[in-house]
């Protein structure tokens, strides 16, 4: 076995071009999403087990506003994607950010609806998971809003990298939301 293996020349390490730094940040984000995915996988298995074990499971009805919230999030992702590819009309970015804020407001409204109907963490396990999953997802969305805001606010030199990473994160959160909807209300 040869002990010494010569490799072809590679881009010099003095090269810290933006595209190179973007792909490093994207790698970090992909890994982070793997971790976040495990979090929700754990919640999912808890949900499945709890559901299977409970003879007294009374699923709550899906709050109607969730339809609007989902729409908002989907539009947000689509707008963000348009902006990311064209990098032209700032309006798409603003639309993405605005729809994201609407989503959060809508989630809060959904919570208040449930609370007003006397559905709490403690008196219905299906509701308990609804609160836990939407809260966990919502916290991540808040982080995403912060990232989307950052796209507007950061210096031009960092904007592309910030946008690439934030988009990946935001689309993942959108897809995650669709999955959670299915888990909570679509699996009956």
């Amino acid at each position: 076995m040869t002990l010494i293996v010569e490799l072809p020349a590679r881009p010099g390490r003095g090269d810290s071009s933006p595209s190179v730094r973007t792909s490093t940040s994207l790698m970090g984000m992909k890994l982070a999403l793997a971790g976040i995915g495990m979090l929700f996988t754990a919640f999912t298995s808890a949900y499945v087990v709890r559901h299977a074990l409970d003879p007294d499971w009374h699923a709550i009805r899906m709050p109607r506003i969730l339809v609007a919230n989902t729409l908002a999030l989907v539009i947000s992702s689509l707008s963000l994607e348009v902006y990311r590819r064209s990098r032209e009309e700032r309006l798409w970015l603003v639309l993405a950010q605005g729809m994201g804020v609407l989503f959060v407001a809508g989630q809060v409204a959904a919570w208040r609806q449930l609370l007003a109907h006397g559905v709490y963490l403690s008196n219905n396990p299906h509701a308990a998971f609804f609160y836990v999953l939407t809260a966990a997802h919502g916290l991540h969305i808040l982080g995403g809003l912060f990232a989307l805001g950052g796209v507007t606010l950061v210096a031009e030199a960092r904007r592309t990298r910030w946008l690439e990473v934030a988009s990946l994160y935001w689309h993942f959160m959108g897809a995650l939301w669709l999955y959670l909807l299915y888990l909570l209300f679509g699996m009956n």
């Binding site: 979090l39 409970d54 308990a128 836990v132």
Partner: protein, 589 residues
């Protein structure tokens, strides 16, 4: 795979930026090591208190009663105080010593340098990861001194005991809640660390540093980071649900019909076994997180001080991956007696036996690395040789515990306590000591005192075997674990002398660690100055000054020309070739 560069930042000025809120991976590594040193001190004190009670359960300790009046109410140490010490000992050692020092401590300092990077991929996030972990430790200390006592449910926090609050026992109120919060914060810190390690290895290796030229320490840190990335979120999820059961009135882990101390609980529908699955799905990879870096360090140090390449480097890499992968499908072996389906137990038993195979391969390879070597008995080498011995001892008892039929007898006895202490508590600690003696000169520019190091080594080696070998015998006699004393059971009474022996051995061994601490701090100022490569080792950190400059390599980018373990290459001028050495001849088989 493309090779990239991390964000280049200027050297910081000012005390705060240089030593407190530093983004330099080297400073962060030392911060983690310092945290681990503080934590291990607390952990050892807790174990002293435990051993005091086990050896002399009815003895009064007036000086201790002064410091811990609640723990000694009425005279001798109370059983609940014992359980609190036990819980916090396990928690602090596993999380704040064994998950920090080997990975976030040495890994942070040396991974970037070993792969030829200027820093970790995300220096700001790296800084955050340390301070988040620091906050977690502070909260854990708050749990230790919580009003009502520290938690008593063990580091495994089984439900319903950990979920029902103070009606289950003292310490299960505020103490348990703070414990959960601390662990949740710790999960966040670990995730940030894992992201950094993985991105750095994947994206920031220097030119010529292919994956198969990475030292086994880097491979170990890489695999450990994958384990951490995928395991800690599961613990976080479990912790969130447990917290809600405690303060939110939910019933994730609490079934219907519980009556505790004549109080009827209103929960219903939860499953105690669900907690065990969530916890151990994290918990088993966690113990591999504790040991894998030590295995990497052992390979690295055995090679250096035998002046021989690591035997079967490729198989070693494969074994690290195999262990990492299989570690995700063995968690049920902690639950053989839990009421889980016995068929599931059979499956977990087979996977558990399977994980022993790559571990055995690594042991054979370590022995083969020594074969026909020219062994130099430095302190680092001594501890690595100790690691091999301890790894074998701890590992073979796994052959018994992996079988459910034998676990019927051995589960929750001292046999298990012996097994995990030797394989995790002691072997991993030997890995940390080996790393410390090895890398101290690089980090601080001075050598630790070898003579005192050898004294420390002998006391510790003889000591740990004296402490933990007898525990196998306690276990085979059927002595259950987590007992504050054995005096209530006739079949255990004759074992009390063993407890006294173990306790005395523990006190001596723990006292001997003072030698290490003294050596460490003395050598910082008075140790023999070390050049860049006092051990004649080949990996990239030994091509830099001791300690390395802010950007690790100075103005010239490192270029890698060799694999990591080119020792005693036939025909070479010296008995080692540095990885960055451009002038070495091509060698054919």
């Amino acid at each position: 795979m493309e090779v990239h560069v991390a964000a280049h930042h200027e050297a910081p000025t000012g005390f705060i930026r240089k030593y407190v809120f530093s983004m330099d991976h080297k400073v962060i590594g030392i911060q983690y090591l310092s945290l681990a040193m503080a934590a291990v001190t607390v952990g050892m004190i807790l174990s002293v208190l435990m051993r005091l009670r086990l050896a002399w359960p009815t003895e009064k300790w007036p000086m201790l009663a002064h410091i811990f009046p609640e723990g000694f109410a009425g005279g001798p140490m109370t059983p609940e105080f014992y359980l609190a010490m036990l819980t916090m000992h396990g928690t602090i050692m596993v999380f704040f010593v064994l998950t920090t020092a080997p990975l976030s401590g040495f890994g942070n300092y040396f991974l970037p340098i070993q792969v030829g990077a200027r820093d970790m991929a995300f220096p700001f996030m790296n800084m955050m990861s340390f301070w988040v972990t620091f906050v977690s430790f502070v909260v854990m200390l708050m749990a230790l001194f919580a009003v009502g006592g520290a938690p008593i449910a063990g580091w495994t926090a089984y439900t319903p005991l950990s979920a029902v609050g103070v009606i289950g026992g003292p310490g299960l109120g505020t103490g348990q809640t703070l414990w959960i919060i601390s662990i949740a914060i710790f999960c966040a810190g670990s995730l940030l660390t894992a992201l950094n390690f993985l991105t750095t290895v994947l994206n920031l290796r220097a030119r010529g540093m292919s994956l198969m030229r990475m030292p086994l320490t880097s491979w170990a840190w890489f695999t450990t980071a994958i384990l951490a990335l995928l395991a800690f979120p599961v613990l976080l999820a479990g912790g969130v649900l447990l917290l809600l059961d405690r303060v939110g009135g939910t019933s994730f882990f609490i079934p219907a019909g519980l009556v505790i101390s004549d109080r009827h609980l209103t929960n219903s529908g939860g499953s105690p076994l669900l907690w065990q699955h969530l916890f151990w799905f994290f918990g088993h990879p966690e113990v591999y997180i504790a040991i894998l870096p030590g295995m990497g360090v052992t390979s690295h140090i055995l090679s250096t001080f035998s002046r021989k390449p690591v035997f079967a480097y490729k198989a070693m890499v494969g074994a690290i991956f195999a262990i990492g992968f299989i570690s995700y499908v063995v968690w049920g072996h902690h639950m053989f007696m839990s009421g889980m389906s016995p068929y599931t137990s059979m499956a977990f038993s087979i996977t558990t036996m399977a994980v022993g195979v790559p571990s055995a391969i690594k042991t054979f390879n370590w022995l083969a690395t020594l074969w026909k070597g020219q062994i130099r008995f430095t302190c680092a080498m001594l501890f690595s040789l100790g690691f091999v011995s301890l790894f074998v001892t701890g590992g073979v008892t796994g052959m018994l515990l992996a079988q459910p039929a034998l676990d019927i007898f051995l589960h929750d006895t001292y046999f298990v306590v012996a097994h995990f202490h030797i394989i995790m508590g002691v072997a991993a600690i030997f890995g940390i000591f080996a790393g410390m003696y090895y890398w101290f000169p690089k980090m601080f520019g001075r050598l630790m005192h070898e003579g005192w190091g050898k004294v420390h080594f002998w006391f510790t080696l003889v000591g740990v075997y004296s402490i933990f070998m007898p525990m196998h015998f306690l276990g085979i006699e059927g002595h259950p674990r987590r007992y504050a004393q054995l005096t209530e059971f006739k079949y255990l009474l004759h074992l009390q002398p063993l407890h006294v022996f173990i306790s005395i051995a523990a006190f001596v061994t723990i006292t001997a660690q003072v030698i290490f601490f003294f050596n460490f701090f003395w050598s910082l100022k008075k140790g023999k100055p070390a050049g860049p490569n006092p051990w004649e080792s080949t990996s990239l950190e030994w091509s830099t000054p001791s300690p390395p400059p802010f950007d690790n390599f100075g103005p010239v980018e490192p270029v890698v020309h060799h694999g990591p373990y080119e020792y005693s290459v036939p025909g070479a001028a010296k008995d080692y070739i540095m990885q960055t050495d451009p002038a070495a001849e091509e060698v054919r088989p």
